[in-house]
Amino acid sequence: MTALRRPPTVVLVVAGLGVLLFLIPVLALLGDAPWSTLFTQFAAPETVAAGRVSVIVSLAATALAVVLGVPMAFALANMDFWGKPIVRTIITVPLVLPPVVTGVALTSAFGRRTLFGELTGIGLTSTMAGAILAAAVVATPFLVLTVEGTLRSTDPGYEQLASTLGAPPLARWWHISLPLARPGVLAGAILAWARALGEFGATITFAGNTEGSTQTLPLEIALALENPDTQDRAVAVSILMLIVSLTVLITLRDRWIPRR
């Protein structure tokens, strides 16, 4: 980085203000923490149940995002086909749409009163599968965009070489293309997981708020906020989520995401 690239002071001041916008709420949350009972709150049966649901739902949603997202990213990055801009727009829509709208749309598609619901008998309302689907839909775009970005900057030379040596397409993809995309897949998976862990609006709208099956930690926080007697738990669980998210982001970031 050369001295010429150093941003002007006024830009740095605004940047500093921007950092404060993120820092102040976190510090204020820590200031509100019920420190003396924090661990009792973590051990509350509701928190344990919601924590279990959150772990399962976020990991399953991430797995779904990887399985479906990586092929989509390859198609978008390495192919030209009719309707590609439309496909990309459709995939990225959940990034900009309010999650509650995604939830409404999922209900229209997979709720009880849909063809899907009639066929399955129940639909996905208030089932853990519904919570996983909601989290996967909002999380997958992060993975697709990240992987696509990585693929655009990989060197096609290796794949050409493999092709010249007679590797069939699937073997070439599995042994050459996919390993080359690894950093992007890992980074995208972390982002997708983080988004799935924090998912609230689509989940509560589509999958509901049922303890033990769809009530994730964010839903538990919202529920605990409704009751003056459980306000402390709401703050405690918020801090728990903060700690988990920071730990994962910091440790995995240094390990897996190459520094530019």
Partner: protein, 250 residues
């Protein structure tokens, strides 16, 4: 970084010169408040009522953390005790409401009464504990010893009603007025259902707010309440200001 400022500061005039009054009202009063807004703004064109509808507990929380509400209409009187600042006049009971059970119009799970909610596979929507309709549901279930097999807990009564009317749940606990508001749900009346008392607290002493409070306590509004299926407030006597809020909480 961009900071979005609220379009109008609370208590100030709107762009067209009308005076804004912020009214916070329970979700169960959504239809009622629409009628109130229409009626009041028609008679007082210089006033713009700005409605904030949510669970009463959420409204109380907002007021306690500094939101500038002029009037708070609670689904039940008991929740006004949680206000940090005392209302400037004694809260006035406006009407009563009652918990009831609803099912989707085609009653897919064949629910005949609250005893069916414990059947395996039945999914019930209810308000969360802490929300007036949720506390009333807790009271009702405990008092009658009914179990609920599986439930989804919602932040306000209108979310419960929406889940029932779209058929995403098999049954839901709402107020009688909510059940009456739509023909997409069937009501299954409950014996000994808990009652709540819709109660108004005036939070600022301005003339415009006092005027609105007087209107809310008027016979005209009492008629509107009755038309939507609310019960009369016991303490409300024609011409005589209501006294202490009834303690009958949910």
């Amino acid at each position: 970084m961009s900071i979005v400022m609220p379009a109008t500061a609370v208590g100030c005039s709107t762009g067209d010169g009308r005076r804004t009054i912020d009214v916070y009202a329970a979700s169960s009063l959504a239809d009622m408040m629409e009628l109130v807004e229409e009626g009041y703004e028609r008679d007082n064109p210089e006033v713009d009522l700005r409605m904030n509808l949510a669970g009463t507990n959420a409204l109380v929380r907002q007021v306690n953390s500094g939101a500038d509400a002029a009037i708070l209409v609670a689904a039940d009187a008991s929740f006004l005790e949680d206000l940090v600042e005392e209302p400037i006049v004694t809260p006035v009971a406006l009407a009563t409401n009652e918990l009831t059970l609803t099912v989707p119009a085609d009653n897919p799970a064949g629910i005949a009464g609250p005893e069916d909610l414990g059947r395996e596979g039945v999914l019930t929507a209810r308000c969360a504990t802490g929300v007036p309709c949720g506390d009333a549901t807790d009271v009702y279930l405990a008092a009658n010893g009914f179990a609920v097999a599986r439930s989804t807990e919602e932040a306000n009564v209108r979310s419960v009603l929406a889940k029932v009317s779209t058929g995403e749940v098999d049954a839901g606990f709402v107020y009688r007025t909510d059940a009456a508001a739509t023909d997409t749900v069937l009501e299954i009346p409950l014996a000994d259902a808990p009652q709540v008392t819709v109660t108004m607290a005036q939070l600022d002493s301005s003339e415009a707010t006092t005027e609105l409070a007087r209107y809310l306590g008027s016979d005209e509004v009492a008629d509107l309440f009755a038309r939507l299926g609310f019960g009369p407030a016991e303490s409300r006597q024609p011409g005589i200001p209501a006294g202490d809020p009834p303690g009958d909480g949910g």
